[in-house]
């Protein structure tokens, strides 16, 4: 997994939240706003695709633990 290029779900969502707050504040100028919007849309799609791609799975770890001997 290329951690540097693609943010985790959590990072993406946090950045999306920041972008929305920035736009909401109305401080951004037009050019900046369009840039932020594009970035935000990308992050939204990334988050949703991550949710869509998740696949449920319940596995069992082999019971290695039970071979542990008492220490006395």
């Amino acid at each position: 997994v290329s951690q540097e290029s693609e943010p985790t779900f959590e990072q993406a969502r946090a950045e999306l939240e920041r972008i929305v707050a920035e736009l909401e504040s109305g401080r951004a100028d037009l050019e900046e706003a369009v840039r932020l919007w594009e970035r935000g849309e990308g992050l939204y799609r990334l988050c949703v695709s991550k949710l869509d791609a998740a696949e449920g799975k319940i596995e069992e770890l082999s019971r290695r633990a039970e071979s542990v001997r008492p220490e006395h």
């Binding site: 985790t8 779900f9 959590e10 969502r13 999306l16 939240e17 972008i19 929305v20 736009l23 909401e24 109305g26 951004a28 100028d29 037009l30 706003a33 369009v34 932020l36 919007w37 935000g40 849309e41 939204y44 988050c47 949703v48 991550k50 949710l51 998740a54 696949e55 449920g56 799975k57 319940i58 596995e59 069992e60 770890l61 019971r63 290695r64 633990a65 039970e66 542990v68 001997r69 008492p70 220490e71 006395h72």
Partner: protein, 384 residues
Amino acid sequence: MKVEATLHGDRKVYSVSAFNRGVGSWLARLPTLWVEGEVTELRRQEGWQSVFFTLKDLDDGSCLPVSMPRTTFDALRLDLADGDKVHVYGRPELYEARGVFQLRGLSLEPLGLGAALARIERLKTALAAEGLFAAERKRRLPLLPRRIGLLTGNEAAAKRDFLTAVTARFPAVRVLVAETLVQGVKAPASIAAALEALAAEPDVDVVVVARGGGSFEDLLPFSDERVVRAFATCPVPVVSAVGHEQDTPLCDLAADARASTPTAAARIVVPDERRLREELDRMRTALGRDTRRIVERGRHALAADSLRLVRAPALLLERKRARLDSFAGRLRALSPRATLERGYAIVRTEAGIVRSASAVAPGARLDVELAEGSLGARVEETQE
């Protein structure tokens, strides 16, 4: 070991020593195990190799003599007294010199609330002093763990409760379940090892330790130093869902988050997928709306600018005209016209305006300007 017998006729006879040795060697093959009972007749003296006491059955009063190496006993630093309930870890043996069957104690754990509580309290103080429970050690749980490690006993309830709740909130959740002993003397080592093994699995971002309610004794392993340390040093955040609300095993203090039940733990470790999607959609809507607002603001500003641009020449002209009008007014005020209106007249000759009678001679032609029209006239006489 071969035990020698002598023959008396057809009778095989053993010496006491040989008999004891034989029984002793047979007993020595029995396994090492834990025995629970009440301490009576505790005998300890400096200089003795061993400490002796009798372990009495808690129900029917059956007795078992116990001997334990004094150094081992002393190292436990237990303030043991007659009447204390204990677990003795040892193996059966025969004290051959006296032909007495006894338990050879290798370790001992005091039972009972008082002793256990005191021990937990001491451990808690020591670990707290070490900073193991410090708030700044607590790690934030991942919002969306790639994989959840679930550590439970083989009791169905805790595991089922957690899995049910977690899949209800987030159907696509990935869980790796590890079962471990959660009760008894082996439990602490087993829990610690299983926790370590789970955290080492790829993509496990958080581990939930779920154990349903139980008696105070049942939960003791979760206050064991090995378990508490395993919680604290676990490379990924640990959620403790051990026992009920009122229980506070020490592992709760070392965990990064605490849940009162396995179901509550599920709520902590995964977001509600439906809500998460709703939230994402809300943010997206806000994103578009706010961007549009900023664009709209820009458009308005531009429209206002262009309007001003269009209006500018007319405005300029108007301003100029206004200034001109005011000049005209002032000009008019200065003109003799108003004076003429009041009945005055301007008298001119060809030489200009006549201000003095001496400027003209009788018979001179005059041009008299009135408020309305003018007259041609001749001078009859002059007076100075």
